[in-house]
Symmetry: C4
Subunit: 253 residues, 4 copies
């Protein structure tokens, strides 16, 4: 199957080619995020090209649950545009990805989604998503919130539909791993596709836990020291959930 993927994918790619592993992981990431309910028909996941840091890979405008290797395109970090002439329809918010890759050389993968339990934290005034469980220490001391009204006025369509908005979002993200977007969703970054998927899924899990805990009493977040320690430990085990999620997502299609 890998060979078949490579052949079809090659038509859309230029040399040097990204590794077959990266392509396979990115396809699986699309399927896993859809199967786990982190994305519905919307949302997207990208990976920085592993043979040239000024490019990244992402699907054409398509529901993540339907993405195959043949749907992946190369994009330029500099411009956020496909490197191919006459590309198919692209995601409207590709500058989320390009501007974060530009601002954060450490980032190798980006997930943007409308994660259902996370969104309430991006809707309720003053709500703050914090790590409440050892699986989500990567949330650190809490997630910044991007208010697009500060950049695009109060009649925008909330989308990161151009490069300056992508720059503003990347600035709001700063050194964090997750940024909430008011009335819209969130964006998650990581040093690999697998860790980005892990973080996107456990950001959702954490939001669900925090909302329910807040109905029972005062929420106790992890301390900064606990957040750091749990992040290190758990992300060293990312193969365990990845293998399960991949099997489940493949079985479902």
């Amino acid at each position: 199957m890998t060979i078949h993927f490579k052949r079809r994918y090659a038509e859309a790619m230029t040399s040097p080619m990204p590794s077959a592993q990266l392509v396979a992981d990115l396809v699986d990431a699309n399927r896993i995020l859809a199967h786990q309910g982190i994305v519905d028909a919307f949302g997207h996941v990208s990976a920085r090209h592993d043979a040239r840091a000024d490019r990244f890979l992402m699907a054409r405008n398509l529901a993540p649950g339907l993405v195959t290797a043949a749907d992946l395109l190369e994009y330029e970090v500099a411009t956020g545009e496909a490197e191919r002439r006459d590309p198919p329809r692209l995601y409207l918010e590709r500058w989320i990805h390009s501007e974060i890759y530009k601002a954060r050389p450490d980032v190798m993968a980006v997930v943007h989604n409308h994660s259902p339990a996370v969104l309430p934290f991006a809707i309720a005034r003053g709500a703050r998503l914090q790590p409440v469980c050892h699986m989500s220490g990567f949330l650190g001391s809490g997630t910044p919130l991007f208010e697009i009204r500060d950049h695009a006025g109060d009649a925008s369509d909330l989308l990161i539909r151009n490069r300056p908005l992508g720059t503003a979002l990347a600035q709001c993200l700063g050194a964090a791993r997750v940024v909430l977007m008011r009335g819209h969703g969130c964006t998650v970054v990581a040093e690999s596709v697998r860790v980005a998927v892990y973080r996107a899924i456990y950001t959702e899990v954490n939001a669900r836990l925090q909302l329910q805990a807040s109905m029972l009493g005062e929420v106790q977040p992890l301390t900064p020291g606990e957040a750091d320690a749990t992040q290190l430990t758990n992300e060293g085990q990312v193969e365990r959930p990845w293998n399960l999620w991949r099997e489940r997502a493949r079985a479902a299609t």
Copy 2:
């Protein structure tokens, strides 16, 4: 399959025939709404006839998840009755559809449902469903609430079971895209079947988000300008979720 659909469907239709695309979309709409949990055994979706504006298409009295093209009938906008003599059992609330098509020439599709997260907003006194996320800008400045007691007294069965109640509902809807019905559900309209399905699904998503956000703090709705802008943007992308939902619904049956 389209040809097979047309042949069976033709038995229940008169000339001019609706387009095969419209018939296919209406069948898919029934299946998608059921598969996405927007309708259970109850609820219905209709489409205005695309070759004659004084007719609309809707299934006979049947759970939407079981509807095929052979179950579709033509109804008259003027009366809300099937044009066919000796029709099978019809939906009790067909005047929801006929009176909205009469009052709103722009409307080409109508969904009526008991959407589970929307209903609490039609039960709690003073609750107000508002767009809280960029996917549901079509909710505009909030949804009107139809109180049937104002029209049928306080011992009705809550159904829109005759033409005058349909007229009253259509008046309450006014120029909006969604109307809540107290203790009953909601009705959603659009300029196409695909957009109506999109709106019905994201009305449910929005209700879920708003309820959860309200437990975390004060809910920040979209501004009217944001609602307009997001509605325009997102409904231009309706093919993306439609294709996913259709594939999922077909795979499930």
Copy 3:
């Protein structure tokens, strides 16, 4: 399949035989309630024998989702015991059924369950389950609550494990259609298996709606007149959901 069912079933039955339709409906009821999440491994559904009113049919001690016609037994209304000598293990709470059939000649089917959204109303002091939606008018002016401590003291296992407790439960039910049981679940009755299944499912739906609505504001229940009118209308349409649920439950096994 019906013939096969009858042959295996006959081994456990005496003459006059219940109708094949009743047997088929009771098997389907078990499967539907399990598939819809109204029962898990526990809970049971029975039907009064349609050829002799002093008997009822119910499975042996088995998870409802696994019940086939071969698992059905005849029980005596008078004693709550199986009419067969050396019966297999029986449900511990069979007197729920026998005592209600004794007290309520109008009742032809009984469902007992631990319906997940209903139970909170049987746990929170002072909570009251009321019809909030037109699909659940059968809840009338609200559901009585059975407090077993009033009959078995404060160290019982909460089960209706003998005839006197069954009698007390039937008295608490009175003329109602649903009785809540504190810390335990609920019992639902109807004039047919299909209506009993309908009521059990929509009691759960109503509980979910009422809980969520209560978080948004003051809950507006149906008026007594609305409850009566909606009950009449909707239960005349019970074939529609039954056919859907049956198809879904059969497809799942």
Copy 4:
């Protein structure tokens, strides 16, 4: 199948062998807990060796939903280490199991998980999980909460990653059947694998019920006498849910 299991399993086992039944139950327990959503990719279940009480069986480091008999290893109660030389990667928290087996000779099975509805009770300050339903009388007079900060300081990774932390957890558990772990999850013990699975699943069910009931009013827990009586009754019926869960879990894979 059992024979096949035994042969592959034998490679990792020493004499005396555990019973084939125990091995089969432990594999099923892994699959059931995953299928019922009690564990995701994390969490683990063990069984004390039924031919030598100083050993226990548990999988290598693997998502429970993927565990087969070939993945099971023998561990020493004394040390918490695999008895095999050069074992594959082990669960980081195996001392949860070893130290409980050491402190509690009555315990024959241990489940550790991050059960989604239980965790909020381990996050909200002052929340207390209590039995609110007759299915969960085993929760007794409520569950103790393990605060790892009291033992490992406020910058730990929250894991029971060594023997002393296992000892501290076992002390906190005391004579109870379930111990909550702040910001982490819970651990459930029982006198058999089947009862441990039952308790883990109904701890989750009870947590869901208690959270929802707390939104409707003051929660009424079982009395201590009711907790004892229901525990005895229900755990005598554990075959009923076990058979259902096993069938469902096997059908899903």
